[in-house]
Every structure is written in C-alpha cells, then in structure tokens.
Symmetry: C2
Subunit: 426 residues, 2 copies
C-alpha cells in the first residue's frame, strides 16, 4: 500500500467571530420523536453554534396537557411539529405559516393530505415548510429530487417506504412466521405500533407515495389518487415457494409516468433477487429513481426510529436557520393525469387444487383465453393438499383478474386462488 | 386494491410571466462528456426556461485546437470545465474564479489536488465552485453530506467509487476471467479507458476518497493523505474460493474517524454478501455513510458514462443559475489528524503449499506468534497444486504483514502468500 504514515494537521486559523444568528424554536409534541429531538438539539447545539454561527434555542414545547400554542408561536422563529396526525397539527401548522413562522414537520399524514395547500401558504408568506422526515425516514429524497436531479426527466420512482411491512415480510420469509406472529415480533421490537393497521393495509405507504410523486413529477398528487393494497393476505407458503423462483416479497410503492399520465400505486410484489430493492432488509426504507439520463439511482436508510427522525428534523431546522432556499415541488410544475388503469404486470398465482389429471391444462386454458401465457409452473403435494403455483408472463392486469375469477369457477380449486404481482426487470 | 379510476387534472393556472434570467455558459472541453453536455443542454433548455425561468445559453466552447479562453471567459457567467486533467484545466478554472465566474467541473484529479484551494478562491470571489460529478458519478454525495446530514456526526464513509474496477472484479468472479481478460472486456464495453492504469492501481479511487473525506468530515484531506492499493494482484482463484465463504470482492474506499484522527484508504476487500455494498453491480458506484444518529444510509448509481456525467453537471449549472447557495466543506471545518497506521482488519490468505503433513500447523503457529487467530481454513488439491486458504479473525494489520513475511520464510509455500482484507460487519 502506498503509505505516508501519520500526518499532523495544523488547526485552521479561526474564522473572525461574528455574532451568532439566534433562531428560536417552538416545539409541538413531546412524544418519542419530540423527546428525541430535544436530546439531539442539546447534544449538537454547541457544535452548530461553533461551525455555523447559528444559536438554536428551544423556547417552548406544547404537550397535550401543557403549554399554550399562541404563546409559543409568539416567541418562535421556527415551529417544529412532531405531534403527528392531521388534527390539531394541521391547524397549528397553518396558523404558524400565516404568522410567517417557518415550519419543520415529520408528519406524513398531514403532508400527504394537505402538503400542497400548506406549501402554498408557506410560499405566500415567504417562509419554509420542510418535511424531509415525513417521506422515507432517513432516505434523502427532497435534496435529490429537487436539487441533484431537478432538471432530470424522471420516468419512474419505486420505493419501499414502510419499514414495518418490510420487517414483517422478511420475518415471514426467513423465519417461517405467520403474518400474525411476524406482526407481534415487529411490535415487540418497536418496529410496529400497537395499532399497526395503517402500516399493514398500505395506507401509510400510499400517503408517502403521494408526497414522493409530487416531488418527483412536480404534479399535484394527493393521498386519494393512490391505489393501494396491503400485506394482510400474504401467506408464508407464498414466501417459501417464491424463494424457489429467486424472488423476494416487498411492499412496493410505484409512481410511473407514461406520456402525460402518471400511475401511483402500492402493492405487495415479488422482485428478483438482483433488483436493488431486494437487498433492503429489516425496517429499512429505500427508493429507486429511474431516469434515462442517469439510469438508476438507489438510496436506502432506516425507515423510522425516534433518533433518526429527530436527526433529519434537526437538519431541516438548520437548513431553515442557515437561510437555505426552500426546495419544493413548486416552480417546476406539470399537470399529469392520474391514471392507474391499463397497467401490465407479471403475476404469481397460488392455488390448492383437486389432485386429478388435467387441472393444470384447464387452468392454462382459462389463462390463455384471456391472452395470458405461463412462464413457469410448479405442482407440489398430494391429495387435498396438492398445490399449484404459476408465474405468468406480463399481461394486462384487468384481464388477469377476470381470468382469476374464471379459474375460481372451474371447480378444480379447493381455495380461492391467491395472486401477487412479480417484477422481474429492474 | 382501493382504486378510484382515472382522474383528470386541471392545468395549474399559469404563473405570471417574469423575464427569464439569462445565464451564459462557456464550455471548456468538447470530448465525450463535453459533447454529451451540449446535447443534454439542448434537450432540456426549453423545459428549464419554462419551469424555472432560466435561459441557459452556450456562448462558446474551447477545444484543443479551437477557441480562445479569454474571449469565452469574457462572454460567460458560468464556466463548465470538462477537459479533465490538472493542466491546463486548473489554470483556466482559477482564472475564471478570480474573474468572478462560477465554475462547474467534473474533473476529479483537479478537485482532489486543488479543490481546497480553488474553493477558497471561489469563496473570496463570492462565486460557486461546484463539482458533484467529480466524486462518485451520479451518486448524490454533496447534497447529502453538506445538506441532509450537515449537522449529523459522521463516523465512517465507505465507498465503491471506481466503476471500472467494480466491473472488472465482478467479471472475474462471475465469468472466471483473468484480470487481463476482464480489463479488455471493460475496455470493449467502454467501462475502462485505453490506459486504465489510474483506475486499476487505486489512484482514481484515492482522489475521490480525498474529496469525499473533506466533505464528510469537514477536514483538510488531499490526495497525498490517502493510502491506496489497486486490484492488479487479484487472482481468479481468490474470487472462486471467496464465494465459498459468502464474500464478494470490492475495491473499497474507507474514511473512518477515531477520536481526533481520520484514516483514509483504498484497498481491495472481501465483503459479506449481506453488506449493502456487496450488491453493487457492474460499473456502478455506491457510498455508505455510518452515523450513530441515522445508523446507515447507502446510495448507489452509475459511476460514469458521458450522459450521466453531463446530466449531473447540468444540474450543478442550474443550481448556480437558480441562485442556490454554495454548499461546500467550508463553514464546518474540523482539524483531524490523518493517521492510517494502527488499523485492524480480518484477512484472507491464499498460498500454494507443499503437500506434506503439518503445513497448516506451522502456518497457524506463525500467525499465533503474532497474536493472530484463524477463523476458518480450507485445503484443496494435491501435490504441487495444493492450496491453503485461511480467513483470520480481526488483528493488527502491521502484525499481520510481519506474520506473512515470516510464513513466506518457512519454506512450506510454493508461491508468495496473497492476502486480501475481509470486512464481515456492515
């Protein structure tokens, strides 16, 4: 190795001291993330003062049973909203923006539902509305989409934006747990909330995909535009058999542009083990951006956790305090139609079948009548437990669901066929 | 799936037209990347004008045999330097900054050797010196380190920052090619230059790690501070056997802080298949950032390619034109000592040995005398072709190299033992 041993550095000459800029912070919410924010702030305040000449001061905190919003607002330059939920957080945030206070939030429900309107209020009042921590945990989305790739024409954004479901699916695949067992383990480890409904049914991911799509395509997308399904129906069997096909199951959020229209969806999907998202483990989040000019950029990081969220929120506060410009979806706005119809996909099908000759032939015939061809088929087991697993070539999704209904009517299956999308290409 | 069908968007009301800001670009270098930049600019100029009200105008281009620098400088607001190499590019860049022109470059040699000084000249003249495309291809490093994680305490940055070597190592591992064959294939596919010396010997990666370290740790690191070795000595055998251990070979750049000191190195290293960098394929680059507050963030994207580089350069030009602040390592500056000594690592050892009893025992004894213990050992083959492969537990690197010399002296090996570092933890 070309080595030159140890080298001592002279300390850089101290910069001429200028008076620090004092920035007063009002905190809304003192739960897990709020408390982590206070700790992070205390730990880094001195360093920030030294390096950036910014003095961050916490002037007040609003809890459910303590503190007065108007009083805190009056004393603050920046409001940090970590209450979560749309109400009353949304009213506080809007009031703060109208009083020309910058706002930093990690509240995905609020940003997904009202982000567009709140950003407009912020712009009118010439203050910041920043929400990096609301999208994909620590994964740096906004500086990439609205900075690094601002003038790059983006075709597709695919994300694992819910850490709970990623953890649950991986536990089912690796440990053979049932869905219920995996959810309980996630709760024990703090990766799932006591009521994990919104994670499990895809609603949380849908909210984040709405925000992501707005940022990536500069187009107005709200939560109601996103089609979503969750992972409740996934069976450990599916995961076991999928391993044989070299596939990993992920809850994907996809936002894809075709011409003047945009589809935004969330659904469980098998991805090839070579796909960059297949290697995203545990409660991590990741986002892949496809753009012809830069091919494919992938970013991953922890999806949640109080300290990580607090850290990203603090970086947003420093961006505000340091006079960075607001980077948002305004200024490069397109109007794409939202169109989630007319999609094509490959599918995996699982069915328990009558153990009699000709079942595969009859299923294949039904698929063929809907112009769907089979890529691979595996039959396992005997008697009442005989299972048939298929993977189709890419087909029209609407035709596929119709074919599946027709297959159920054949009288050769002992259970409703289950189907999961498959994404083999990157 | 919760679906609501197709939704038509009303076009957003047109923003009141303001006069566009005209930004004149002088281009230095009209090679592959320079030409790609011109194409990218032509393709996106209209969109940029429409969305951002910025009119980008190419006023002149300097080629080896054509154009006059002073004339181009006189007519430009921004100089885009895509000549490559330190001379004469460095003189042009410095002259441009002193004449208060912004500069955007993709020139890693220049930024690694003179980036610190040039950034200072830029700051004195209140202009931008931007070089995102010079570090890790399309991987967005600067906005992450100097924005998203600006106040996050970073412990470690590990990168695959040379696409040529990543491609070569992967071809050797997957296709069983020799080093020479893999390099030729990389050249045929345009992933290696006609003279790939600086890629292969680690020099290119070392230059990029110097820049990356400066950005991550806000400390003065130059090319001369980086210890590096290349991949010239890697043998297809090593890659074959390593597969058995579940390892992938990568040329890693590492920048790690320990207290007040920083080590910055480049070396071939086996990483566990579960490491986020193991899944970085072909000529891609990737960077992993470890910081206690956010655990681990990983980003990957194409490492080179004229169009991708041009696209990132154009985004930098737009950042300048749009009045974004310069984000650089100044303003959060530490002085860490560079200390590449005292490192610890696990090692893989390969040796061709005399096929006689007691060889493993004698090798193990030598290692043991240097306080190095063996994690696993495999012996293969017979007679003159008997091979012994070992993986050690973590040990002091200096002690390891001494032990290896002592082993060579034992007279039981038929070739010099080869050793490669192993990184099993993330």
């Amino acid at each position: 190795m070309h080595s030159r041993g140890k080298r001592k550095r002279e300390a850089a000459p101290a910069a001429p001291e200028k008076a620090p800029k004092v920035v007063r912070i009002g905190l809304l919410g003192r739960g897990t993330v709020g408390s982590a924010f206070v700790v992070e702030l205390e730990e880094l305040a001195e360093q920030i003062l030294k390096d950036l000449r910014i003095e961050l001061k916490l002037v007040g905190a609003l809890r459910r049973s303590e503190g007065d919003f108007d009083e805190i607002l009056g004393e603050s330059d920046v409001i940090v909203e970590l209450m979560g939920g749309r109400h009353p957080a949304g009213d506080y945030v809007e009031a703060a923006l109208r009083q020309r206070r910058h706002v930093v939030t990690a509240n995905k429900q609020l940003v997904a539902h009202s982000g567009q309107a709140l950003s407009r209020v912020a712009a009118e009042n010439e203050v910041h509305f920043r929400y990096e921590a609301a999208i994909a945990g620590t994964v740096p989305i906004i500086p990439i989409l609205r900075g690094h790739l601002l003038v790059t024409h983006i075709e597709r954004v695919i994300g694992i934006v819910n850490g709970t479901t990623n953890f649950v699916l991986e536990e089912m695949a690796n440990e053979g747990l049932t869905f219920g067992e995996a959810v309980r383990r996630a709760q024990e480890l703090g990766f799932a909330e006591p009521d994990p409904t919104e994670d499990i049914n895809g609603e949380d991911a849908a909210a984040k995909m709405a925000i992501l799509s707005r940022l990536a395509f500069g187009s107005d997308v709200s939560f109601a535009d996103v089609d979503f399904e969750g992972i409740e129906k996934v069976d450990p069997d599916d995961l076991g058999y999928a391993k044989e096909f070299g596939l990993a199951l992920k809850l994907l959020g996809t936002a894809e542009r075709r011409g003047r229209s945009l589809s935004v969806r969330v659904f469980p999907c098998f991805v090839s083990n070579k796909h960059p998202l297949a290697g995203v483990h545990g409660p991590f989040n990741a986002v892949t951006i496809d753009a012809p000019a830069v091919e494919q950029i992938t970013m991953s990081g922890p999806g949640a956790g109080a300290r990580a969220t607090a850290s990203i929120v603090l970086n947003d506060v420093v961006a505000v305090a340091g006079g960075r410009p607001q980077i948002d979806y305004f200024g490069a706005s397109q109007s794409l139609d939202i169109d989630n119809a007319g999609q094509r996909s490959c599918f995996y099908i699982h069915m328990i079948v009558a153990d009699q000759p000709g079942v595969l032939a009859r299923v294949a015939e039904q698929l063929s009548e809907h112009a769907i061809s089979i890529e691979s088929a595996v039959q396992r087991g005997l008697g009442d437990q005989a299972r048939l697993m298929l993977v189709t070539h890419e087909c029209d999704e609407k035709a596929f669901w119709e074919a599946l209904l027709d297959i159920a009517k054949l009288g050769v299956t002992r259970s409703d066929p289950r189907a999961i999308r498959v994404r083999e290409q990157a």
